[in-house]
Subunit: 262 residues, 2 copies
């Protein structure tokens, strides 16, 4: 399998290394900044370049790993290619690449940091393709680097990206709000470590809804009210507490009512 990579960021780097380790030949790395292209090309034993019109025409697969906002622009600047052209973004439609006869998406679902190695085998990889030939090639490529490969439409890919905002970005903000409460009392966030690990473990082994505990789950509005009063001096914590408590309360009232109907 011969591959050309357009882009030299975190995803291009990790994906390129994973493909090379899986036996693919990386023909070329193209990047706006020639220096960046050369750095990644050296790691991948590939040619480097910064001119999209001089892209190698012999590849089976062209991977566009550039920022979401640049994908359409790069696609338009490329010559027509016979290989499969795929981007690697979570929230961009496959159709942005429709001028290529074979096109698709190869979306590795993890946050990547250049300096930090990733066990790619465990990274979920979602793919889609416009025709059976592009689907087959992307499926084969995905299976060569990961054990968690799934065909997924753009709608599903976007749902996954949205879920990640809740389970990662927003979760981290709740950790921040908790950390602030502790810091004001001279307590260290690491005190929460055993509890955080237990919470994560439970959510991943049973359904998160079934693992829900706490005053709001028990419908204990007296405790919630006392907590809200204690948080009056902390507006960010107060507002998040009020909304999330109410959200939990409603979620389970609805569930319990549905259950009562059986």
């Amino acid at each position: 399998m011969k591959v050309v990579i357009v882009g030299s960021g975190n995803v291009a780097t990790h994906l390129g290394m994973a493909l090379k380790n899986a036996g693919c030949v990386i023909l070329q790395v193209l990047s706006r900044q020639l220096h960046n292209a050369e750095c990644l090309a050296a790691m991948l034993e590939a040619d480097a370049g910064n001119d999209l019109s001089k892209i190698n025409r012999e590849a089976d697969l062209y991977l566009l790993s550039v920022s979401d906002t640049s994908i359409a622009e790069v696609a338009d600047a490329l010559p027509l290619l016979q290989g499969v052209v795929a981007h690697t973004a979570g929230s961009i439609d496959m159709e942005v690449l429709e001028r290529f006869p074979l096109h698709g998406v190869l979306y590795p679902f993890q946050t990547f940091t250049k300096e930090k190695e990733v066990d790619f085998k465990t990274v979920p990889v979602l793919f889609e393709g416009n025709r059976s030939a592009s689907r087959k090639l992307l499926n084969d490529v995905a299976l060569s680097i990961s054990t968690r490969v799934q065909k997924a439409s753009g709608t599903r890919r976007k749902a996954l990206h949205m879920a990640a905002v809740f389970a990662c970005n927003f979760v981290n903000h709740l950790y921040t709000l908790a950390d602030d409460l502790l810091e004001k009392e001279g307590l260290d966030f690491s005190l929460l470590e055993p509890l955080i690990r237990e919470t994560t473990q439970k959510a991943l082994t049973m359904k998160p809804a079934d693992a829900q505990t706490g005053p709001a789950r028990r419908g204990d509005r007296l405790v919630s009210q006392a907590h809200l009063e204690a948080l009056e001096a902390h507006p960010a914590q107060h507002d998040a507490y009020a909304l999330l408590s109410e959200s939990i309360f409603r979620y389970f009232r609805r569930k319990d009512e549905l259950y009562d109907q059986f």
Copy 2:
């Protein structure tokens, strides 16, 4: 060290076993339901009873591991005792025990399930005592079962309990909201596992605020707005998304402004 335990629930069970393994002699287990007292007493090789007036008077330490709402009632029903009397609750003041000359709190900070063994050595244990004698005894007891012992006032204990609501109860609810979004698209929550583990790991190794990523952190209101529109059919997710995005945005705007003043 001779100990009497009042209560037979999850905390009483795990704390009792940890104390026994650390070489304490558990003289007696008292519980409203004699059967429950007998079950735990059998595990701890102790006497059992359900009559608070017949409590063993020879103990160095009396641990009240009953529900938050029962602590005051149990304390009032007990005869005067010469040993240290301590409860094990996160959000109840030590003063509820002030009729005992030596009193305090011993608060193990973890969620306990009876059937699931816990490595008590890693469980943070917070203590306070009304006099140096009670503080010393509670400190010694805590150090015999855990490597993470900390003296903490009631205010600090309550802050920790509140932080746990954010970092555990509310975090789990966000996992639930994410799970619902995935389920509607036929995707499995386990796809989030690598990302969740990475998020947790980062929050515990750097400050959570420094680990914040995502559209709201970047101040990218266009992406946030597109997400909100996509969530219009999901009111719980929509409202949580709106509030938490805004909270992240404000949190870092405030920080950045403070930083600009330097």
